[in-house]
């Protein structure tokens, strides 16, 4: 998913200098490294893949091994200014649980995900095949993704769970989409808070 780094810039815009930031599914720590460089955050990553954890240590980024499916029980309520989950929510089984946990340990949550409702994905399904694209780069049989949802689906879930959508940006291959994002955007980035 290295091609989708433009959500980093959006995320960075929402982070104030010196904030405490938790990045869930932090991978090799490159988002945190970016936020440390441009926003001087105090960042911690959460990662459960041992190789990625080692990559974080190599990158000089704090990384804590946690299986997020079990929640974030060790983290204190409201400790972080922002809790980020960049392009990982679709790989989580416990979707509602982790969203609740993000807003428990963080003042705000930032979530980005691939939009399954993107018109090219719809076209792919109409043509009888599961979509494979820059934002959904895996085949159906080897994808780490376990949840397939659209921007409209996510909006409905936030509504259902009393999560406030404070801001949303949608992109088509790096370009901002304003009209009809559920149809025209491949990736969405949300700033979420508690109602």
């Amino acid at each position: 998913m290295a091609a989708y780094r433009y959500d980093y810039d959006v995320i960075a815009q929402w982070i104030a200098p010196g904030e405490k930031v938790l990045d869930l599914g932090c991978g090799d720590g490159s988002l945190l490294k970016h936020l440390i460089a441009v926003r001087q955050v105090q960042g911690y990553g959460v990662e459960n893949d041992p190789d990625k954890l080692i990559a974080c240590v190599k990158n000089g980024v704090n990384a804590i091994q946690v299986d997020m499916e079990n929640g974030l029980s060790g983290f204190e309520d409201g400790f972080f200014d922002h809790v980020i989950m960049s392009l990982s929510l679709q790989a989580m089984h416990n979707t509602q649980g982790i969203l609740a946990e993000m807003l428990r340990v963080g003042r705000e949550a930032v979530v980005s995900f691939p939009n399954f409702g993107y018109w090219r994905h719809r076209q792919s399904i109409l043509n009888g095949r599961m979509p494979v694209s820059e934002s959904l780069p895996h085949q159906w049989f080897n994808t780490p993704n376990v949840r397939f949802f659209t921007i409209a689906d996510f909006d409905a879930l936030c509504e259902l769970n009393g999560i406030a959508v404070r801001e949303r940006l949608a992109f088509d291959e790096g370009k901002i989409v304003v009209e009809e994002p559920n149809f025209l955007a491949s990736v969405a980035v949300y700033r979420l808070g508690r109602d």
Binding site: Q42, V57, K58, G60, N62, Q65, G74
Partner: protein, 375 residues
């Protein structure tokens, strides 16, 4: 990239300290020796020193071999050396035998100047904090104002943590591996059974067995056997020994029948042949007493507020004596204090002893961590 190598032939050294050391137990050592080894070179800036703290039965002999005993390999030799995770081409590595030990540092077998006889049971209780104080004096002697890193597993991890609290300005990085912020009641219980085995051995003589020309070998053997069981995992024991019967069938005796019995007896005998019973007693109590949160009303967050080092905390999935949950306590207390900390839970089947093995994931992590340390 060269192949990882041994540091080769090493020679222990002895540092004598004439300045009295006040101990937390109320006792004082008027003077004392510390035995230590070093590997690699201290750089001109004196900024590349790494202290390796030993666990319950460890010593200063961390890496390499002795010229007259090339089979006596340092207990963490797989970690330390040229091209190894703790690379001696970059770091100046120090191993030190703690006070109360039986490898040359002043301990129960040393002569008590007040009586002219071995200290035996009169040797004062020493705490992790006392050890750290003594190690700090050795660092002074070696001209090391600040360690690049302090590393330890198990009881050694407690020392690394304690260093970061007692001398925060002297510790750049701390690796706390397979350790805990204090023992659980279950852990203390295991230690107590081990101690009772020694204390009730008829050859113990109130700890003054040196004068009787005997050692409480049976008690020490039992102590080691129970300890050994707790350092392995059920799975690793099952895989190695299972229920294999030496005679192929039950013979209904108390002699060795199951292979695990044979193994434990062998390990126990071997240990009783070289380790000192008083040191075992003393060191298990050191483990039991360690609890930096105690003086903060049990609040570990408050206790760790003093630390300023960058931490690496490592646990092993199958370690039930120092379980991952115990490491979590340290991690989240450091996080509370906004310290730099990384934490890994290594999936290794070998139980508590995993920290001594060269599991690829574990060593790759340590390599990455040591590589990042600027000296």
């Amino acid at each position: 990239m060269t192949e990882p190598q041994s540091v080769g032939i090493v020679t222990p050294q002895t540092a004598h300290f004439a300045e009295p050391l006040a101990l937390r137990s109320g006792g004082t050592l008027a003077d004392y020796d510390l035995v230590y080894e070093t590997y690699g070179e201290l750089n001109a800036a004196r900024s590349n020193a790494v202290l390796v703290c030993h666990a319950l039965s460890g010593s200063h002999h961390v890496a390499g071999v002795y010229a007259d005993d090339t089979r006596n390999v340092g207990w963490w030799d797989n970690l330390i050396g040229p091209g190894k995770p703790l690379d001696t081409r970059k770091f100046f590595v120090i191993g030190v035998n703690n006070l109360g030990g039986c490898y040359g540092s002043t301990g129960p077998g040393s002569i008590n100047p007040a009586t002219g006889k071995p200290w035996g049971a009169d040797f004062p209780f020493v705490t992790v904090e006392d050890w750290v104080d003594a190690q700090a004096r050795l660092a002074d002697r070696l001209g090391i104002a600040r360690f690049a890193a302090i590393v330890g597993g198990s009881l050694g991890g407690m020392q690394a943590l304690s260093w970061a609290l007692q001398y925060p300005e002297r510790v750049g990085h701390a690796a706390v591996i397979a350790s805990a912020p204090k023992l659980t009641a279950q852990n203390i219980a295991f230690n107590e059974v081990a101690r009772q085995a020694i204390l009730t051995d008829p050859e113990f003589h109130g700890g003054h067995y040196y004068e009787h020309g005997v050692v409480p070998a049976r008690g020490l053997k039992l102590a080691r056997m129970i300890g050994h069981i707790t350092y392995l995992s059920d799975d690793s024991m099952g895989e190695k020994f299972g229920r294999s019967l030496r005679h192929g069938k039950a013979v209904y005796s108390y002699d060795v029948e199951f292979e695990i019995e044979s193994y434990l007896r062998y390990q126990g005998d071997k240990f009783a042949g070289y380790f000192d019973a008083n040191t075992y007693l003393l060191t298990t109590k050191t483990l039991d007493y360690f609890d930096p949160a105690f003086e903060h009303g049990g609040n570990l967050n408050a206790a760790l507020a003093r630390a300023s080092a960058d931490f690496l905390v490592v646990s092993f999935t199958t370690d039930w004596r120092f379980s991952p949950a115990r490491s979590h306590e340290i991690v989240y207390a450091l996080l509370h204090n906004r310290r730099n900390v990384s934490y890994a839970e290594i999936d290794c089947p070998a139980g508590h002893d995993s920290f001594l093995l060269d599991d690829p994931q574990y060593h790759a992590l340590l390599s990455a961590w040591f590589d990042r340390i600027e000296v």
